[in-house]
Amino acid sequence: MHKLSALNDFVVRFANVNGTGSASANTMFAKAVFRMGIPVAPKNIFPSNIQGLPTWYEVRVSEKGYLGRREGVDLMVSVNPQSMLRDIKVVKPGGYFVYDSTKELYKEYIREDIHYIGVPMMGLCMEHFADPRQRQLLKNMVYVGALSALLDIELEVLQQIVREQFKGKEKLVTANFEAMQMGIDYIHQHYEYPLGLRLERRDEVGDRILMDGNTASGLGALYAGATVAAWYPITPSTSLVQAFEKYATKYRIDPESGKKNFAVVQMEDELAAIGVVLGASWNGARAFTATSGPGVSLMSEFLGLAYFAEIPTVLIDVQRGGPSTGMPTRTQQSDLISAAYASHGDTRHVLLFPSTPKECFDFTADAFDLAERLQTPVLVMTDLELGMNDTMSPPLSWDSSRQFDRGKVLTEAQLEAMTERYGRYKDVDGDGIPYRTIPGTHPTKGSYFTRGTSHDEYAGYTEDALIYQKSVDRLMLKWETAKGLVPEPELYQDGNQSEYGIIFIGTSTYPALEAIDMLRESGIAMDAMRLMAFPFADSVRDFIESHDKVFVIDQNRDAQLRSLLVNELEVHPKNLIKVLNYDGFPVTADYIFKTIQSRVAAGVSA
């Protein structure tokens, strides 16, 4: 029978039961590969459930550094009887199925074209360990040991990870070592090893780190000097505020008094969470909230107020599958339109699109500068895939000479020196951005009445048609100013080299870059552009107009990114070809490749 073989290039999937401690064992596996210098891309595929339902952890190993999800499983580790039949079906022909053979497999579970590797994980633990809870946890380490024998993982690397994880708990270290050794010994005694699928140390990781985007964003908010965080729990954004709180509790305590130099409040809903952000920002603190699609819907009214009353607002939207409650534990980029134009009336908001944890960190920090500079909401658009999965990323860094850009805020001295009447909404500099004042600054100057009703330059209520129009036109001028302040799109070639272009954002980046390589190998050249922000720079229009056809990758049904491009740049929709993925799983390179290849073969028309 055919046996899959590959060096440093395959997919391992773990099938577990939610809440059985498998996450830590699976992470150790991914980390070990990573520490052997081989790029990895782990992904959690989990249910909206706390305990008992199937959960999967998939690790793509790719020496070439392709970090997008790849279809098909080369080796499955299945310790969940509930999902076993399904798990067997997805193994590629010639692939391997590692399972807990404490119980015999049902006859109907036998496929002729895959290789079964039974390890009596629970049985071994029953014989060896007394404590039932420990057995359950260590069972996971038995398969990690088995994998180390089957795939040639350096044992010392695994042991070091165990030592770090259970630092100071020597008994646990020993027990974990024993469990791993039991797995190794069992493979040595019963199977040929290593498999055709194999790992070999490389030096392809460089200085990169493994981190999830939410932790990086939380740290970004910390470094940006956020002092107020208000939130309402929602997957997949919850861990973001929790990361902020965790690090703030460690690094933001006043050394003298022991008190907190920050405030995190769990509010009663998302309306209240964003309300706190507006109130705190209006009052001169850096504040933020994090949420997902349903939260953005609820926050819309306040986002409109922040836009119109010009209040800096930072929101991180970790997108998940919609509409409505949708697929809460699956990924999508389906809030683009609802975020870009959140709220009634003529509104538009600055969006940032990070694609690595490092960018989650940087863009979250930048969002505070931009929000204060532009006095408007800035939404950092990440997604479940980036937010909740350990992702390989350049290391985080902070330029210690960096000064926060607090934007146009008048100080007490500036107000004191002012001879003319202060106008909160006066465009003094011609860039559409007025000067703001913080409550309490000056006894008699600078106060104004912030309102969401139409207002004149002095924040006074007005229904005057001309004054109203002038004020909303100024907001468009500010939008133009924003174009020059948001991060520029990234190009992957010097000048145009093809009649075809491809545009993508965020987590579509890795599979897109891989697909471009695949297309090139099949004879189709692609010019690529990654967008970092909305509003779109003029160079985006130039890129689109200088190519015959541009493929736009969207992880949603309605081609929302494409719609934004058409709407904002007034480019011809016919020239923008949809590449859509919306099954809740991250888009794959294979899918992008096949879609584009077939469209090119058919002579591309929209």
Binding site: F34, I209, L210, M211, L219, L222, G225, T227, V228, A230, Y247, R252, S257, K259, K260, N261, F262, A263, V264, V265, M267, E268, L271, A272, I274, G275, V276, L278, G279, A280, S281, W282, N283, G284, A285, A287, E301, F302, L305, P395, L396, S397, W398, S400, F404, I438, P439, G440, T441, H442, P443, T444, S447, Y448, F449, T450, G452, T453, G460, Y461
Partner: protein, 350 residues
């Protein structure tokens, strides 16, 4: 349009101890209907702040949406104001307060704003004991949208269109007591004698201070049959006690008979002097207060005055254990962990 009042200051206008005249506490000209209760409440706020010697720029005034929520434009024009969205003032005030604990926060809302659309935020701000003076201008209707019944309209109360309300009324003072509010009072826009000292006491209170002010809507709910009209309120008003606010410097003069006067020392050194009108009434007894409010309702009384006070409950900042320096004044150097922290984070990710 907002009309800016002439900034003419008569040289003989009396100034308070911080050098401001009463006019310095006023706002732009009101555009509310003549006789609207809300304008009287604005006047009471002006008097209270002037007499308390508050520096206007140390006060931030916030509101939701409604005729009532417009009033912050009509007082304290030297204070920053924030007219937010309908029913959401408490969250904005929470954020503002978190950013700078040193300012005084004055929240203005209506019965529609707080008892319907904003009920959630109202009760949650109470739970957190947000340090704010929360003035609820209660007219039993939605003035700004032309007189629909609000959730505080009493059963059987007839509005201007002749319709009698059938749905149970929410008693905002009673609700606040249930939610753990640390200062609960009720008053009447037509009773400055009572309202002004109550506002002063509320502003001196270190926590959530609710004043539910019956503030009749002359245009839509001042008709016979309405239980929030001027006439009805005057006829049914009952007070727990006569209220006097005594700034900390003044000597306490007991003008009432022994046993009838109660001095409540406030944390800023001032006093509330209460001369009891209701028998067996004790402002520190939450359960008693809840019962008293229920009783009044059954008897068709409008119970006013200070209903309950507890000054020892920690406020939101104390519960969160935030630093004494306002968060909006922490320098950048204190906010950014050193580069070694990121180094450690990176190491942990390898």
């Amino acid at each position: 349009m907002s009309f800016v009042k002439p900034k003419f200051r008569h040289p003989d206008l009396p100034l308070n101890e911080v050098g401001y005249s009463r006019a310095d506490y006023e706002g732009v000209l009101s555009t509310l209907c003549a006789g609207c209760g809300h304008d009287s409440v604005s006047g009471a706020i002006v008097s209270a702040c002037f007499e308390m010697n508050l520096e206007p720029h140390r006060v931030a005034k916030l509101s939701g949406i409604g005729c009532s929520s417009k009033t912050p434009a009509y007082f304290l024009s030297n204070s920053h104001g924030f007219n937010s969205v309908h029913g959401r003032m408490p969250s904005v005030a929470t954020g503002a307060n978190l950013a700078n604990r040193d300012l005084m926060y004055l929240g203005i809302s209506g019965d529609g704003d707080s008892a319907s659309i904003g009920m959630g935020q109202f009760v949650h701000a109470i739970r957190r004991n947000l340090n704010i003076t929360y003035i609820l201008m209660n007219n039993g209707c939605y003035g700004l949208t032309k007189g629909q019944d609000s959730a505080t309209a009493d059963v059987g109360s007839v509005n201007k269109s002749g319709h009698a309300n059938q749905f149970a009324a929410i008693d905002m003072a009673g609700l606040a007591l249930e939610m753990g509010a640390t200062f609960v009072a009720r008053s009447f826009s037509g009773d400055k004698e009572q309202l002004v000292p109550l506002i002063k006491a509320a502003m001196s209170h270190p926590g959530f201070a609710l004043i539910d002010v019956i503030s009749p809507c002359v245009t839509f709910n001042n008709n016979p049959g309405s239980t929030k009209s001027y006439d009805y309120t005057r006829e049914h008003i009952e007070a727990t006690a006569a209220v006097d606010y005594v700034p900390f410097k003044e000597e306490i003069t007991a003008a009432y008979a022994e046993g009838e006067v109660l001095d409540v020392a406030l944390h800023d050194g001032s006093y509330i002097q209460l001369s009891k009108l209701a028998p067996n009434w004790n402002p520190f007894d939450r359960i008693g207060a809840i019962n008293r409010v229920h009783e009044a309702k059954v008897k068709n009384e409008i119970l006013t005055g200070l209903i309950f006070i507890d000054q020892d409950h920690p406020d939101l900042h104390q519960m969160l254990d935030t630093t004494a320096t306002p968060l909006n004044q922490l320098p950048q150097a204190l906010l950014i962990p050193g580069p070694e922290v990121l180094e450690a984070v990176n190491r942990a990710g390898r």
